[in-house]
């Protein structure tokens, strides 16, 4: 993300309502309380591996109103959901919950990460995140267990109703 960001962020072009939209999502109500102490970033295990994943910076971008940059960012999907940031935050910002909200908003805005795309594809074709092959069913037969059916049609309908269309992220 850092590479393709301009060095100067023009706040005149930012969307000041973005933080308020995020704060209306369940779990993300307290995002505006962040005073950028950095406790979340300091303890984030993902940040240890990829310094680009910086919770404090993501919150900052939300507060500054950088809607497109945040929602299109693949970083949203890096979170390991360990909840350490949430337990650490002195202001109760609940960043893990904020990320769920942001991921929902990203998908609504049409930003799909490739992994999510692949998972949707699996659901659509197999009705499961893990394909059931002949190997599994043969094994089950050895123990007298019934074959597992794949019922992708239910999910197809569901995904259509939710208007979630698998596509490549930008």
């Amino acid at each position: 993300m850092t590479e393709d960001q301009p060095r100067t962020w023009d706040l005149d072009r930012a969307d000041p309502d973005f933080k308020d939209d995020v704060a209306r999502r369940p779990g993300a109500e307290k995002i505006r309380l962040c005073y950028a102490c950095g406790a979340c970033s300091a303890r984030c295990p993902v940040g240890d591996i990829d310094p680009d994943f910086d919770p404090r910076r993501l919150i900052r971008m939300v507060i500054l109103g950088m809607r497109d940059q945040v929602l299109s960012s693949p970083l949203l999907w890096y979170c390991a959901t360990c909840f350490t940031c949430q337990e650490t935050c002195p202001e109760g910002v609940n960043f893990t919950e904020v990320l769920f909200a942001l991921k929902n908003m990203a998908v609504e805005a049409g930003y799909f990460p490739p992994a999510m795309s692949a998972q949707t594809e699996l659901l659509k074709n197999h009705g499961r995140l893990y394909e059931i092959t002949d190997f599994e069913n043969q094994n089950r037969g050895k123990y007298g267990l019934p074959e597992l059916p794949e019922r992708p049609d239910d999910f197809k309908t569901l995904l259509e109703q939710l208007k979630i269309e698998p596509r490549e992220a930008d």
């Binding site: 960001q5 962020w9 005149d12 505006r32 309380l33 005073y35 507060i63």
Partner: protein, 632 residues
């Protein structure tokens, strides 16, 4: 000068702790006083106070502080503090220190004391809410109050209103001032024991910009809104309203509170996007933490600027553009405000500036006549009995004003109470030629003259600036007479020389002497004779040259840090004289570097050792045999 009987009390455990044989040492010390006037002490608590007369002078070897219950003339001597700083055999060092203490104790003097009965009337100068609050609180504390100002009120009982157009002069001394008031050319004088300057509140925007379109001061926006005039931009969606707090310095808690309140109001009552830019958000004020939490929750955007403020550029279309780095975003931010609100700060009213000059009050860098010195209660000026609080001290926050009033009341209570005070300055009427150098040099306006000069004991801080400057040596501080200082110097310099260069330190008794108590011992043998002075400002050519004549290789002046001096001007005055003293040395063929100047605070023991060791090495290098022709 009378020499009183000196009795030496030496602690056996103290001497033994130093590695000396108490009996041997006792016999040696006994030779320093008249026969029979040394007593060895095993336990200070077993001493009988009845065994001494009030005229006796006691030297207490092995104590840091006087012995409670003993006679008034006591001279404690803790050898553990001073002995490590001298070089040579231990018993020689101990005898020299005891000899110095005996010489000083013999010259202890009790200055004449007199009863002072100060006038308890307090004159308050100023207008506005702040002055009213000050007047009310002082009157409630039981002082008769004269309220002088353009429109003083008289509702408060015990307050006399004195409408006038200006305060012109404050003559005399605390407890008996004469205050001159000007009512449009008609001058009247009023008697008062103390004067409280309050003045009136004057503000200026913190940045050097003319206010104009797109730029407004916080007070102007506040005042407009106070009068229920909703700004014309209130209904404009996305209007960028930017508050700039404390450029060049962090915002004051009170200033931040004003900004947050108004910014919250803007967020509630308008459609603007509200930014608050500040180098630092300090919430240590009443209700501030809650206010800042509410401000964040309401969606105000806080941006941290560099301390000197963000970069402001005027674009081609005449609008301002703000740019600054953002550490959290790890990028630069840019923003063009539709309206930029500048925090304004309290500045000295021009009238106050004139008044300070007329009253001889020293003003600080901020232009206010109350020194930024933690050793003094808030509002104290260089003249005892004249206080500057509220707007006259740059204060607009009610809660800070309240604390200033409390501090001021303490000062007034102490100053305006009948009591017996000792004279702080002795004048030798035969020597004085009435040149009045003393009257002019005194930073506290504590001296006046009738036939001969004298110092008011309530105004005098006993710094000794006048003593040092007197060309006739006609002035003395009773507890640091020339005779006593020189007797101590002579006793310490009478020891045989050692390898180490011989150093003399004239140090402030409030800073250097205390730092010495906690200073780690030097790594190499240093020979430092420590001579306490009441204040570094007391140093004069006579003392410097006497030390060199007595065999010193180097003389070190140890003052307090500027703005941390009990007498306010001691350090700067001592430094000013350094040049003169070094010229004298150069003229007499000495290297001027043999005279050094350092500053210490009472808690700087480590620095004491470092600075003395540094000076010791520098003087040792100067002592190396010089190439022929160089000055020594």
């Amino acid at each position: 000068m009378t020499e009183a009987k000196v009795i030496l009390l030496a602690s056996r455990p103290h001497l033994a702790g130093l590695g000396l044989d108490p009996e041997d040492m006792g016999r040696e010390l006994g030779n320093l006083v008249n026969p029979g006037q040394i007593r060895m002490v095993d336990d200070w608590t077993s001493l009988d106070a009845g065994a001494f007369s009030p005229e006796d002078r006691l030297v207490l070897v092995g104590r840091s502080d006087p012995w409670p219950g003993g006679p008034p003339g006591q001279w404690p001597l803790n050898l553990n503090v001073e002995a490590p700083w001298l070089a040579g055999p231990l018993n020689e060092r101990v005898s020299a220190l005891v000899r110095a203490a005996v010489a000083e104790a013999a010259r202890l003097e009790t200055p004449p004391a007199r009863l002072v009965e100060p006038d308890r009337t307090v004159l308050v100068w100023g207008d506005g809410l702040e002055a009213g609050r000050v007047v009310e609180r002082i009157a409630k504390a039981g002082f008769p109050v004269l309220w002088a100002g353009r429109r003083p009120g008289n509702q408060v009982p015990g307050v006399t209103a004195l409408p006038c157009s200006g305060l012109r002069a404050v003559e005399g001394f605390p407890g008996r001032f004469t205050v001159w008031l000007d009512d449009n050319g008609h001058w009247t004088d009023k008697a008062a024991g103390a004067v409280v300057l309050c003045g009136r509140l004057t503000r200026r925007a913190g940045l050097e910009f003319e206010t104009g379109p797109g730029l407004i001061s916080l007070s102007t926006l506040e005042d407009g809104w106070e009068r229920e005039q909703k700004p014309d931009w209130a209904e404009e969606p996305g209007f960028r309203l930017v508050f700039l707090a404390g450029a060049g310095r962090p915002p004051t808690p009170h200033g931040l509170g004003r900004i947050l309140s108004l910014a919250l109001r803007a967020r509630r009552e308008t459609k603007a996007v509200v930014y608050v830019l500040a180098p630092q958000i300090q919430v240590a004020g009443p209700g501030l933490e809650r206010l800042s939490g509410r401000a964040r929750q309401a969606g105000l955007v806080f941006l941290r600027t560099p301390l000197q403020g963000p970069d402001l550029t005027v674009m081609e279309n005449g609008r301002l553009r703000i740019t600054m780095p953002d550490l959290v975003a790890r990028a630069d931010l840019s923003l063009t405000p539709d309206l930029l609100v500048l925090e304004d700060e309290v500045i000295p009213d021009p009238e106050l500036t004139d008044l300070a000059a007329a009253l001889g009050l020293t003003v600080g860098n901020d232009g206010f006549p109350s020194p930024d010195n933690v050793l003094f209660p808030a509002g104290t000026t260089n003249r005892a009995g004249i206080l500057a609080i509220g707007p006259a001290r740059g204060t607009d926050a009610p809660e800070i004003l309240d604390r200033e009033i409390l501090a001021g009341l303490d000062v007034l209570q102490e100053l305006l109470t009948d009591r017996t005070v000792e004279d702080r300055l002795i004048v030798d009427r035969g020597r004085c030629t009435l040149c009045l150098t003393c009257v002019r040099i005194c930073p506290h306006q504590a001296l006046s003259f009738t036939n001969r000069p004298w110092a008011d004991p309530l105004a005098c801080s006993a710094c000794g600036l006048c003593v040092a400057e007197c060309p006739m040596d006609a002035l003395q501080l009773p507890d640091h007479t020339d005779g006593r200082v020189k007797a101590r110097l002579a006793a310490l310099l009478a020891r045989p020389r050692t390898e180490a260069p011989r150093l003399v330190m004239y140090g402030c008794r409030r800073s250097a002497a205390r730092a010495m108590r906690i200073a780690p011992r030097p790594d190499e043998p240093v020979d430092l004779a420590f001579i306490p002075l009441p204040c570094a400002g007391r140093i004069e050519a006579d003392l410097v040259l006497t030390a060199f004549l007595g065999g010193a290789d180097g003389v070190l002046i140890a003052a307090c840090h500027d703005h941390n001096c009990r007498t306010q001007q001691g350090g700067p005055e001592a430094r000013r004289r350094m040049g003169y003293h070094q010229d004298l040395l150069a003229e007499s063929g000495f290297r001027p570097e043999r005279l050094g100047y350092i500053t210490l605070a009472p808690n700087m023991g480590r620095e004491f050792t470092e600075l003395v060791t540094q000076f010791h090495r520098a003087v040792r290098d100067l002592n190396q045999p010089p190439a022929s022709g160089d000055p020594t």
